[in-house]
């Protein structure tokens, strides 16, 4: 049995979970300007095919992102991050995300929801694009682009949240390449993230 405490701390990461939070009919105030994408970059001493596998298979995602995952690797396929795999369907983590584009081994795009704390964004989808480029030395450069934000105050706060969360996820991926897959019963404290605006 996994440590619930550990999983809870880790689940504070990127993906909102289904909650019983009441729908709000009013949206937060509109902004006049578009919110820029969040970008994050990493370089790995691993081949592009290895990095692609890590991000596009359930087995790969289990090594750094969440204790379980579900990936149907095709356009409109499922891409779910399951922080609580033992929970009933609908409360296992980030469920129901879809693959929008899938171009092995250089690019894929998925839908992404917002943390439940941002109640006016409940159910809304932003997008995440992953791009991979093989380097001459056999390594791989990766770019994550999180975009498609709304034009309201909660979207700005969600964007701020993910700005920090992506850094935390990539730190865990670094760890995975340097030390091997995460032990979900014993996740190092420095790899946890529950920050961002409240």
């Amino acid at each position: 049995m996994r440590s619930k405490t550990t999983i809870f701390l880790v689940a504070g990461l990127l993906l909102p979970m289904a909650t019983g939070a009441a729908e709000q009919s009013m949206h937060s105030p509109m902004r006049d300007t578009d919110l820029a994408p969040v970008y994050a970059h990493r370089s790995f001493d691993a081949s592009i095919n290895q990095v692609w596998e890590t991000w596009t298979t359930a087995a790969g995602l289990r090594t750094f992102f969440s204790p379980d995952a579900a990936v149907d690797p095709q356009v409109d396929g499922e891409y779910s991050i399951l922080f609580y795999p033992d929970n009933p369907a609908g409360s296992r983590g980030a469920e129901g995300m879809r693959i929008i584009a899938f171009e092995p081994p250089t690019r894929f795009v998925i839908t992404w929801n917002h943390p439940p704390r941002f109640k006016t964004l409940k159910g809304q989808r932003a997008l995440v694009e992953y791009r991979f480029q093989a380097r001459d030395d056999g390594g791989t450069d990766m770019q994550v682009k999180h975009f498609g934000w709304g034009q309201n105050e909660e979207s700005a706060r969600s964007r701020e949240y993910f700005d920090g969360a992506w850094a935390a996820v990539l730190k865990r991926l670094d760890y995975r390449y340097e030390h091997g897959p995460l032990d979900w019963d014993n996740v190092p404290k420095h790899l946890m993230y529950s920050g961002g605006p409240k």
Binding site: I100, R125, Q143
Partner: protein
Amino acid sequence: MNHQASIVVTICLISTLIFAGESTEACDGDQINENPEPEYSESAGIVPASVDEVWELFTTAKGLSSFYAREAIIDPKVGGLFELHVFPENPPGRRGIEGHQVLAIEPKHRLVLSWIAPAAIRSKIGPQTTIQEITLVPIGLNETRVRLRQFGFGESSGWSGAKEYFELRSRDVVFNIKERVENGTLDWERAMNRFYETTRRIDELGVFQSKHQ
């Protein structure tokens, strides 16, 4: 990863986090080059109607089928079905936008839809999906700014022409919604002639000819 590389990556990451949204400059040697051009197509115009009226046109089947395509289906909630049948007489799978969905909806302001990639692109790189974002901003009691953006293009040669294609198509949509507001439901014979004229223009311009070749 060696120690020196780790430091460079760390500096890059910190820079990215600090300046996200303001700068996307790459750190040499460690990052994928980002396209300096906008990664979306855009068309916009002022429509002589209230934001309530324009929102209704974009978020109901009746509204959409009066200016966007002859038949439409929309369930205006996140995850709801969205279809535009440009060729309703065709068999399923060949009618236009089919089986797509609403990705985000901010009432009377913003609608985000998944959207089929053009056939010329699908024939090269498979059934990839793009995104259409419709944004409305009231600029008076009876005037609304309508902006259509298309996102989600890849950078491989297979995506060549996507931006130009959607710019031309969305320009027609902005024209059509103005005509709808001013003169009522479109005369679909004229509207389809305009559609085919744009198709001819897309062919003449050779927008799908790869720039990478």
